[in-house]
């Protein structure tokens, strides 16, 4: 018994926190709550933290507001579906890389739920930021009025559901 008794996994209560522990090591970026700008200003554009060089894996941690899981998943699946349906190989590759996984543990009502996405590897120089994916990736014809309404509806779902996002750079072992 010595062999296996001294090396326990942490208790189940910790499991919830853990959704979390990963995030203890992560840089983080809050879910943007502002609609996309109509026109970029002349000021320098900050680097997109969701754009990677593709040389190493990255884990994205997305924290979703309690009770909004379905809303978020619908939006996420809609993005993946559109990317996958694109005729651009880089967007198809991006869709393939964006496998979403939800923390399984049941949580108290209203508590935020972590999701993770392992990008192994991320598609180089393609942004994984939701606004970029929706409005600028080319997966949709964002300048079409009717399509724009569809994209806006997805954006609203994300805005309503995503609490925070984090980026955890990893090295493959």
């Amino acid at each position: 018994m010595r062999l296996f008794g001294v090396f326990p996994v942490m208790g189940r209560r910790t499991v919830v926190a853990l959704g979390v522990t990963g995030m203890l090591m992560m840089s983080s970026v809050a879910q943007a709550q502002e609609p996309p700008p109509a026109q970029p200003a002349a000021a320098p554009v900050p680097a997109d933290p969701f754009k990677f060089d593709g040389s190493s894996p990255v884990m994205l941690m997305i924290t979703v507001k309690g009770g909004q899981e379905t809303v978020f998943e619908e939006a996420y699946v809609a993005i993946r579906t559109a990317l996958n349906a694109s005729d651009k190989p880089e967007l198809q590759a991006q869709a393939k890389s964006m496998q979403l996984m939800r923390l399984t543990a049941e949580l108290p009502a209203g508590q935020n739920r972590p999701y993770v996405v392992f990008l192994d590897p991320p598609v180089a120089n393609q942004s994984y930021e939701f606004t970029q994916l929706l409005y600028y990736s080319g997966a949709w014809k964002a300048d079409d009025v009717e399509i724009r309404k569809q994209i806006d509806a997805i954006f609203e779902k994300l805005k309503a559901s995503v609490a925070e996002q984090g980026i955890w750079p990893l090295a493959r072992k």
Partner: protein
Amino acid sequence: MEPKMTHVLRILALVVAGVSPALAQVAPPPVPVPVTQPPTTTTATVPATPVIAGVPVDYVFPTGAGMLIFHVDPAKVADFDAVMARLKDALSKADTATRKLQAANWLMYKSAEKPGDTVVYLCLFDPAIVTANYNPLLLLAEVLPADVQNVYDRMKAAVVRIERMGLTKIR
């Protein structure tokens, strides 16, 4: 959409503090991200996970995917690397298809962030065999029985703690 930068770490540290003092003691690595939102404190309880008879539940992933997070003593990283590499190699050469499949779908990562008190490794099981046990020591005992005590001693010295995250894939 211009993202606001925030500091998940502090929020999470408080969440952890509510359930695990050991975790709360771990200082997060330096992250060049300003705090723009106050952290919130929450606590959590988790109902029982479905139990598979005879298998310790903590290392089983009945939802078909999961992750173990190993916090490793920075001075013992070489030992940990060696043991895990040995385990994976032994699993891939095991007699049973289950163990081979476990090895094939066992993805291992190391945090690229600057280490804090520990070096963090992620073991992602995707997909996980829903009835299989991913307890590394149990597996070592099975596939490397002759060396298990030595390997166990090295693992015990290297690993500060392990955490589990059951995952469900969203299609």
